[in-house]
């Protein structure tokens, strides 16, 4: 009994002496969480998207389904004029459903970097074709003015991949690795866009920042805010959702 106690004590005291998680492993943990933040095997969410430009401001309400990293289906619920407009993305291919004409329009590859629904997100942002874990090299980094409580990871795309960014810097809370912001730099090292994560809430047992605010650096007065109203993760989804037939069905 006494021997056991000694062993237990030894185990406890030796805990701090165990090798700490190595920095590369920590960076990988951070980017992996980032990749899987709003995704998982499946997800279904009710999202509000507020788009602010110098000329107008509007809010869209939509329901979005995702499967893995590559498949997404989004249908717009509000406003009235756009009700029923839908987007299906499977891997590299993308289609829009236009409710007024009841037609399906394929988005050509040349337009993947175009704005999605007038927002500051591009068509390409709808899927995570390139994950940080697989397509980027990453390392812990310290910016010029680090904030206490935050840790930073710098990600640089691996060679030969059609990624438009020069680098991406992620900032996460040290305590729970919850993302705080993401800054995208172009190939010349200029800030191209800034995404802020706010309002951490629990949806279906998973804690995520419910608000994502994207500010493009080049476009003054532009801002897109995504708000998760409802979200469910790792739920059984019918494979029929991610089909052209479902897209064409129109509601």
């Amino acid at each position: 009994m006494r021997k056991l106690l000694v062993l237990a004590l030894a185990a406890l005291t030796s805990l701090p002496l165990l090798p700490q998680e190595s920095p590369p492993a920590r960076a990988e943990e951070i980017v992996r969480r980032m990749d899987e933040l709003y995704r998982s095997s499946t997800s279904e969410a009710l999202v509000e998207m507020e788009v602010v430009t110098p000329e107008w401001q509007r809010t869209l309400r939509m329901r979005a389904w995702s499967r893995g990293m590559k498949d997404t289906f989004i249908r717009i619920l509000e406003p009235k004029k756009e009700e029923g407009f839908a987007t299906l993305r499977i891997g590299n291919e993308m289609w829009n459903y236009l409710p007024k004409t009841a037609k399906v329009l394929k988005v050509p590859p040349s337009m993947m970097m175009s704005s999605w629904m007038g927002s500051d997100f591009t068509n390409d942002d709808l899927v995570k074709e390139f994950t940080f874990v697989e397509s980027y090299r990453f390392e812990m980094t310290t910016p010029d003015a680090p904030e206490p409580g935050l840790v930073y990871v710098k990600c640089v795309p691996k060679e030969g991949l059609p990624i438009v960014w020069g680098s991406v810097v992620l900032a996460v809370r040290e305590s729970d690795l919850m993302p705080v912001w993401e800054k995208y730099y172009d190939e010349k090292g200029r800030l191209a866009r800034d995404i802020e994560f706010k309002d951490v809430r629990t949806f279906g047992g998973r804690r995520i920042p419910a608000t994502m605010e994207l500010v493009p650096a080049a476009k003054e007065g532009h801002k897109t805010v995504l708000r998760y109203v409802e979200a469910k993760f790792d739920i059984p989804l019918s494979p029929d959702i991610f089909t052209l037939r479902n897209l064409q069905a129109g509601r």
Binding site: V51, T53, P54, E55, W56, Q57, R58, P79, K81, E82, F85, N96, L98, P99, K100, T101, K103, L105, K106, V107, P108, S110, M111, S115, M117, G118
Partner: protein, 405 residues
């Protein structure tokens, strides 16, 4: 007077020598005339085709539009601006337009498109739009639910006349713009790049689609004389007196095209310079030869009391008389050739592309400068070239040269 008489006599005494000198001047002069007339003709037809059939000679925009065109940089009051244009002399026609980018689709095909809203009647009067329609017909009216596609875009979409062409874009209020219009025509502007993306809509239809109200992005103006573009442009700007608008001639809004033209024009001057050198060397050669073989003659002239200045005058006069006669003949030849080329042009088998436009026939142009420029250059070079042997002749030592033969 005696010098003039002697000069003529000298020219006609040595007919063969004069003929050769004259021929080199005639040839050079005619070559220069044809060359300038031809390149002026080519440039003006390229400029005219480039501007008239597409851009217009002058464009009116919201003042920051050209720096970075967006859907939102519009202006209203088209009728008011139109009234000013109608009052401005030199303005032949004008037409309002709206632009945006979108995604066009037909069947399973889709492609990025440039939406161009045009006023069917005004566009026809300004840029002869209907002449570019190679298939189908023009729009029925300014609010018809019809589309005309560029040839390339129609091919990409595999669209046939009568098909509904879906269009997806964004309205000026941020809303999604989606609709479909019946394909009634296919146009070929001569510019393949334009034709690969052009999706024409009648003006009102386009304004409704893009939620623009009565606003437009551009008014294109065509002037009656290409050479007066800049003056007319200034007159329009003064007439509008609106700081929110920019009025620019094609030299400004099509700057890269203008620069390319200017660079090519610089090449023209180099060519012209080479031609002048050839003429000058030819003249120098023959005049020098004639002076050298007549040293004895000049020696004699001096021996009988002619002053060196007199001999210089004599030789220079000979050259000038010869040049003038040759230029008259050369001008006749050049004019004839240019008149022929202006009427018939030269056809290139498959045409060539310049600035994205396809040209298959190039024509010459008869203008004043195609005569004045070669005349001045030939005259001056003949004078300069004649002066050297003339001075040489005047320095002849009578006693020594006369003893030579």
């Amino acid at each position: 007077m005696i010098v003039l008489k002697m000069a003529f006599r000298n020219i006609f005494r040595q007919k063969r020598r004069s003929l050769f000198t004259g021929l080199s001047v005639v040839g050079g002069f005619a070559l220069a005339v044809i060359f300038i007339g031809w390149s002026d003709g080519s440039y003006n037809s390229i400029i005219d085709q480039f501007t008239r059939t597409r851009l217009g000679h002058i464009q009116i925009h919201e003042k920051t539009y050209l720096d970075r065109p967006t859907l939102y940089k519009t202006f209203a009051d088209v009728p008011k601006i139109g009234a000013v244009l109608d009052r401005t002399s030199g303005v032949e026609a004008w037409t309002p337009r709206v632009f945006s980018a979108g995604l066009a689709g037909a069947g399973d095909q889709s492609a990025g498109a440039r939406i161009i809203g045009i006023d069917p009647q005004r566009e026809e009067r300004t840029t002869r739009f209907e002449g570019t329609i190679i298939q189908g017909r023009p729009f029925r009216g300014p609010a018809a639910r019809e589309a005309i596609l560029g040839k390339g875009l129609a091919e990409i979409l595999q669209a046939k006349l009568g098909d509904e062409i879906v269009l997806l874009s964004q309205g000026a209020d941020g809303s999604i713009a989606e609709d479909q219009y019946q394909l009634v025509g296919v146009t070929s502007s001569g510019d393949e790049m334009t034709d690969r993306i052009a999706y024409y809509l009648p003006l009102s239809t386009a304004q409704d689609f893009l939620v623009l109200g009565a606003k437009v992005h551009e008014i294109a103006v065509v002037v009656s004389k290409l050479g007066r573009v800049q003056a007319v442009s200034r007159a329009i700007a003064a007439g509008l007196a609106d700081p929110a608008l920019s009025v620019e001639p094609w030299q400004v809004f099509a700057k890269s095209f203008y620069d390319a033209m200017k660079a090519d024009q610089a090449g023209l001057w180099v060519m012209l310079f080479v031609i002048v050198i050839i003429v000058a060397v030819g003249v120098l050669n023959t005049v020098l030869m004639s002076v050298l073989e007549r040293r004895r003659e000049y020696g004699l002239l001096k021996a009988v009391g002619t002053r060196p200045g007199g001999i210089v005058r004599l030789v220079v006069l000979e050259v000038l008389i010869l040049s003038v006669i040759s230029m008259v003949i050369g001008a006749g030849l050049g004019l004839g050739a240019n008149a022929f080329l202006a009427r018939h042009g030269i056809r290139f088998g498959s045409g060539f592309t310049y600035g994205g436009m396809v040209f298959d026939t190039m024509r010459s142009e008869i203008n004043l400068r195609s005569f004045t420029i070669p005349a001045v250059t030939v005259f001056v070079s003949a004078l300069l070239v004649g002066l050297f042997p003339a001075i040489k002749a005047s320095r002849t030592e009578p006693a020594r040269t006369m003893r030579m033969h």
